[in-house]
Symmetry: C2
Subunit: 207 residues, 2 copies
Amino acid sequence: MSTEERREQLRAALTDAAERTIAREGLAALKARDLAREVGCALGAIYTAFPDLDALILTVNLRTLLLFDRTIAAVRTAPGPGEGAPSRADREAAVEDLVRLAVAYLRFAGEHPARWRALFQHRMTTAPPDWYLREQVRLFRYIEAPLRVLRPDLPEAERSLVARTLFSATHGIVSLGLDEKLMALSEPVLRRQIETVVGALGRGLAP
Amino acid sequence: MSTEERREQLRAALTDAAERTIAREGLAALKARDLAREVGCALGAIYTAFPDLDALILTVNLRTLLLFDRTIAAVRTAPGPGEGAPSRADREAAVEDLVRLAVAYLRFAGEHPARWRALFQHRMTTAPPDWYLREQVRLFRYIEAPLRVLRPDLPEAERSLVARTLFSATHGIVSLGLDEKLMALSEPVLRRQIETVVGALGRGLAP
């Protein structure tokens, strides 16, 4: 096995181990020493596979984003309007799509609480690298599709900004709603709140 | 000075010191040892003034909530409709009020970033005490007033739930928007996003 192959193998083993720890005990429990012990390498070897622990965490978080991507891609959404101005029915379908996407986000957060939280808890000392940001931005595209139906008048750049804001609003509802110490809402209650509020948001966005 | 008076004095000194540390360096920088040194008491004396560090942090967070309460109470909002069903103008004023409250929240977070963040970062081992929860709930009342105009049909309990969800949505927009590593939007851009999205939310809520 070449040095590069061995490094790749170590990288995969460390990512698996870190993912398990984060999923089980949360990001705060992640320690380089424990990881080295778990995969059976020297502490220093971690830094031949990753420049630092931040980079390892980002690799785990990228997996979480890809898992979410598969979840969200499976959400049944409207095919989108054909040519010409969107009809009233198109707009209603787009509002429903926004609600469905938000509910899928709630479900994902509920099913993978620790991994999902790690996406936001991880505060790095530098900005995330491009490959990570690209994946984040890709996920906003799912929101941009119904938004294009609701607000065909918006310039592309403004629409992608509004898509991010819609995501942030949904994230706020989900994260405070699932926070046991703060709001403590059950998932069915939270789901109905999302239907009410994200539904209102979609309806109110259409001109 | 009685023992109780001395304890009250120590309590105030510790709260001041903790508030300064949180405002300057954030919640993570708060250490009992440093606090004791700063107020000139023995480490153990802290625990005669507060049952634990959690209780001290909650006292600081209560001050932050009260400061926010003063800010939000100064937001100029519509006097609310008189008798009878709200008119279209009443509803428009209520939507504007929701936007104004959300913008005030953004401004508060921007002016007191560390203290504001501490309100949400602080994860306690037990649920917050009633006096703290009461103050949180009191703040939702500001959102309930315009909501009453927009959705007079909702039962009281449902309305207060929707008010919380509106707060969560706004909090999501503000907190991800101000997060330098995640979204990194400037305050004027964020402000316009709030106007677009919270405005849409308010309009979409009216039946």
